[in-house]
Symmetry: C3
Subunit: 137 residues, 3 copies
Amino acid sequence: MQTTFHISTRGQGLYEFTRDVIRWTAGQGDGLLTLFVRHTSCSLVIQENADPEVQTDLRNFFHRLVPPTTDPSMSYLTHTYEGPDDMPAHIKAAMMPVSLSIPVAQGKPVLGTWQGIYLFEHRNAPHGRTVAAHFQT
Amino acid sequence: MQTTFHISTRGQGLYEFTRDVIRWTAGQGDGLLTLFVRHTSCSLVIQENADPEVQTDLRNFFHRLVPPTTDPSMSYLTHTYEGPDDMPAHIKAAMMPVSLSIPVAQGKPVLGTWQGIYLFEHRNAPHGRTVAAHFQT
Amino acid sequence: MQTTFHISTRGQGLYEFTRDVIRWTAGQGDGLLTLFVRHTSCSLVIQENADPEVQTDLRNFFHRLVPPTTDPSMSYLTHTYEGPDDMPAHIKAAMMPVSLSIPVAQGKPVLGTWQGIYLFEHRNAPHGRTVAAHFQT
């Protein structure tokens, strides 16, 4: 079976949608869940959902690793006409997963205790993001 | 069903093979497509296929993040006998996907409007690369 | 079918478990193998298993790219109470795969000649890690 998750973002950072995923596979048997984000300027990551500081730190680390194209260190980049956060978003999208595959046992994704599923938004402006989901028994 | 895509590369950069993939799943129903690159010095990425500058910028960013082992900043690396671009290639291969999973609806991978499927070559010399593909209904 | 692989780690670095995976799918037909690591401070990578220096270099590169939070360059990070290697571990876990999907032909994962499957431990202390595996024909 297939579905689409819709996630509204408000700037760079992590947006959790673990509950939506768990609700969707509930009642199914064993199988494989695949998530695929249909954009080139955001990513899917699995991260600790216990402490929100982890999410802030992740955003800040990647912002420093791949600064906006207005930063002098990034002056060699040429794809700048969609805004200073666009090309860095593409770079981060190459570096972090576009798809995730998670085994499902008795209707439940086998996530570890602290693992949450997040969309990692790399753009500054609000965006409507779609994640395609596939479940196969 | 399974197949193999063969991609000839001519130095570092992105090589698109979206059309080959779309042609292969055409006529199939709903299912899951998985691509797996059988090498440790190149990657699979999904990126914007609208503007070729994005691909140039991606190559240049990762070349600066992981410079050749002849660069003084990389003098701590020890695996150098296969050439100055070899160990950086392995590092990039750890950082970017070796496998991609894409839901397929009515025979069509659910790629977003601007998403193309690329082999990202990390070596300087020409290489023949193989990507194993699996489709499951 | 599903199983769990258990891997004991002794500090940062790569731990190969290719043989366990190959043994598990042996005797099966064609299908898709998925591995998923149930933690947020280690990763799954496919890397060259010919030369152990590659693994040392990988560990050292990522240690320099994402140094401990005691390093002055990382002073902006806030999630530090679980130790100086904890937040860097989360960052590396976002950057490298949490799941891998590998086509299987006649019971054998279609790994390239030099490809080995590794758990990449990002923490300093010994850990017991679990990798969930799913095989679908």
